[in-house]
């Protein structure tokens, strides 16, 4: 069961990360990319957590705590300074 769970979650997370990277690449706006990179960060955290749960170790636990604590700073910073006046309305 351990191997089955590992394979299933690895496939699912790989697909999810690929989709998030596609959204980062195609945009079309800066805020979409920020949002997609937030999701990508969540996927990395999920991979860390799954590794810890399946292999029964706690090496990454405090990395995970730090991610949840400061992971929002990047998107807040970008959203704070975004000013896109060249694009037209509804260009989402």
């Amino acid at each position: 069961m351990k191997d089955a769970v590992l394979i299933i979650t690895a496939v699912v997370l790989t697909l999810a990360a690929a989709g998030a990277i596609v959204r980062i690449a195609v945009g079309p706006s800066l805020l979409d990319r920020v949002l997609a990179s937030d999701v990508l960060l969540g996927i990395v955290g999920a991979a860390l957590a799954i590794d810890m749960a399946v292999n029964r170790h706690l090496n990454n636990l405090f990395l995970l705590v730090a991610l949840t604590l400061i992971g929002f700073i990047g998107s807040v910073t970008v959203a704070r300074f975004v000013s896109d006046r060249r694009g037209q309305a509804n260009d989402s």
Partner: protein, 180 residues
């Protein structure tokens, strides 16, 4: 996970496996939402699923597997920090998205900010000497945009109203003028 467990261990392992797969599926759900939803606001809705519910399931799986009492407070702290910080970033991204008009107004069922912005713009026109004295047109527009994003409450509303007045030339501005 133990390979050949029996009794309680087997049950706990099964629950853990379900939690892990569900938590991973949350990430996939968010990605499908990111790829298929039409605008920024609905994509934000999809993006919060792995950040809150998915993380909760995965942390619960860690706690079930480790069986050490001191792990649980750390996991709770991690989840609470996530609950506290996700709304902050969602608020900032959502407000920046509204102000830079990354939304489809026809897809919104309720736009509570539009009435506030229009009322604030009307007040400014009434008290000021005219549209020329409103925020945004008197100063550097880019600077006003950046400043308005960072200020809370009244300043933000004034900044939004200034942007609305600024962009009177396009469709949304015309609509607001006609209704007001």
């Amino acid at each position: 996970m133990t390979p050949e467990a029996g009794g309680v261990d087997a049950v706990i392992d099964a629950v853990t496996a379900v939690f892990l797969v569900l938590g991973a599926l949350m990430s996939l759900t968010a990605t499908i939402g990111l790829l298929r939803f039409p605008d920024l606001m609905s994509r934000m809705h999809a993006a919060t699923k792995p950040q809150v519910l998915g993380l909760f399931l995965l942390l619960a799986a860690i706690g079930l597997q480790m069986r050490q009492w001191w792990v649980w407070p750390v996991l709770v702290v991690a989840w609470i920090f996530q609950l506290l910080t996700v709304p902050v970033s969602a608020h900032m991204v959502g407000r920046a998205g509204y102000r830079t008009k990354h939304l489809h107004p026809e897809l919104l069922s309720v736009d509570e900010l539009e009435a506030v912005v229009r009322r604030s713009a009307a007040e400014q026109e009434g008290t000021g000497t005219g549209p020329a004295s409103t925020a945004g047109s008197a100063e550097d527009p880019e600077l006003d945009d950046v400043l308005g994003l960072g200020e809370a409450g009244d300043g933000a509303l004034r900044g939004a109203a200034g942007q609305n007045l600024d962009d009177r030339g396009d469709g949304r501005g015309d609509q607001g003028e006609g209704k007001g």
